[in-house]
């Protein structure tokens, strides 16, 4: 039980980290990119745009929290 808990905690910390909004928005952006590509739209610009906006939002949240 201890090892399962430690394993799950590790992956939670690894993926979610200090701010869950980063993981959530990147996962959503990847899902939308997949959907756009399947709709024949070469959405190479989506992930960089979301990464830039997410980083800014997360920094703003972090600065507010300090």
């Amino acid at each position: 039980m201890h090892y399962i808990k430690a394993f799950l905690t590790f992956w939670y910390d690894f993926i979610v980290g200090d701010d869950w909004t980063i993981a959530a928005s990147i996962a959503a952006a990847i899902a939308v990119t997949l959907w756009l590509v399947q709709s024949n739209i070469d959405a190479w610009w989506l992930l960089p745009a979301v990464a830039i906006l997410t980083l800014g939002f997360s920094l703003w949240r972090g600065a507010q929290a300090e």
């Binding site: 690894f14 996962a27 800014g56």
Partner: protein, 233 residues
């Protein structure tokens, strides 16, 4: 010339993939400690060797796109988290953190396994290693010279590793938070590239798009740093 083709082609292709692999290993090793990073890399190579042995030329049937999507997505999330932490600490150094932020990472090597470093190194080696193996199998099988093609890939990895060893000493002199900042940028850029490639996006400029992503993320990070510093004063 025909005999030279597989070795030259795999050397060039493996140099590019090898550089990506070593960039991640170097970044994680210098930031989190070498022991766990090398263990993760060794585990990655072991799984890679097992897959190559088990599948042989059928290796090409492994769904690399899905692997790219998952590994790329995780690296992008990780890179952004590192960037966030580094930017907040650089912009607003806490009195207790002030000395730590300017400390280099040489002493930061824990005795027990750092699973964080292990997993990142493992994924980096497995994904890039698989791509190199695909190149070897593709060029080698086509020319019926698998051994020669593999030699080209091994030579490329040795050259890239030697260059990384030369750069490592210089990296250790960079203050901790700036190193975290740099590694965050590298992980985010590679992660973005792989995740989008895994979603079957075609990047303008192919592999060169990584340099563009690095440039964009660097400019963005410095822009955010300036904003954070302004709001701090």
């Amino acid at each position: 010339m025909n005999g030279m083709f597989p070795i030259v082609a795999t050397f060039l292709a493996a140099s590019i993939e090898g550089t990506e692999m070593i960039a991640i290993l170097l970044g994680v090793g210098v930031t989190r400690g070498w022991r766990s990073t090398l263990l993760g890399a060794a585990a990655g190579f072991a799984v890679l060797a097992g897959l190559t042995f088990a599948f042989g030329t059928a290796l090409l049937s492994i769904p690399i796109e899905r692997l790219r999507l998952i590994v790329g997505g995780l690296l992008l999330i990780l890179g952004l988290q590192w960037l966030r932490k580094a930017l907040l600490r650089i912009a607003r150094p806490h009195p207790r953190r002030k000395t730590a932020a300017h400390r280099t990472l040489e002493t930061e090597s824990p005795a027990k396994t750092d699973w964080y470093a292990f997993v990142v190194a493992f994924k980096g080696v497995l994904l890039e290693g698989l791509e190199i193996a695909f190149v070897v199998v593709t060029f080698g099988a086509e020319a019926n010279q698998l051994g020669v093609a593999a030699a080209g890939a091994i030579a490329a990895l040795l050259v890239v590793s030697a260059i990384a060893l030369l750069v490592r000493g210089w990296l250790l002199r960079i203050p901790r938070e700036w190193l975290r900042f740099t590694v965050g940028l590298v992980l985010a850029a590679f992660g973005m590239f792989w995740a989008a490639e895994g979603a079957l996006v075609r990047w303008p400029g192919g592999e060169l798009a990584i340099l563009g992503l690095l440039g964009i993320m660097t400019a963005t990070a410095f822009g955010y740093l300036a904003l954070l510093r302004q709001t701090t004063i």
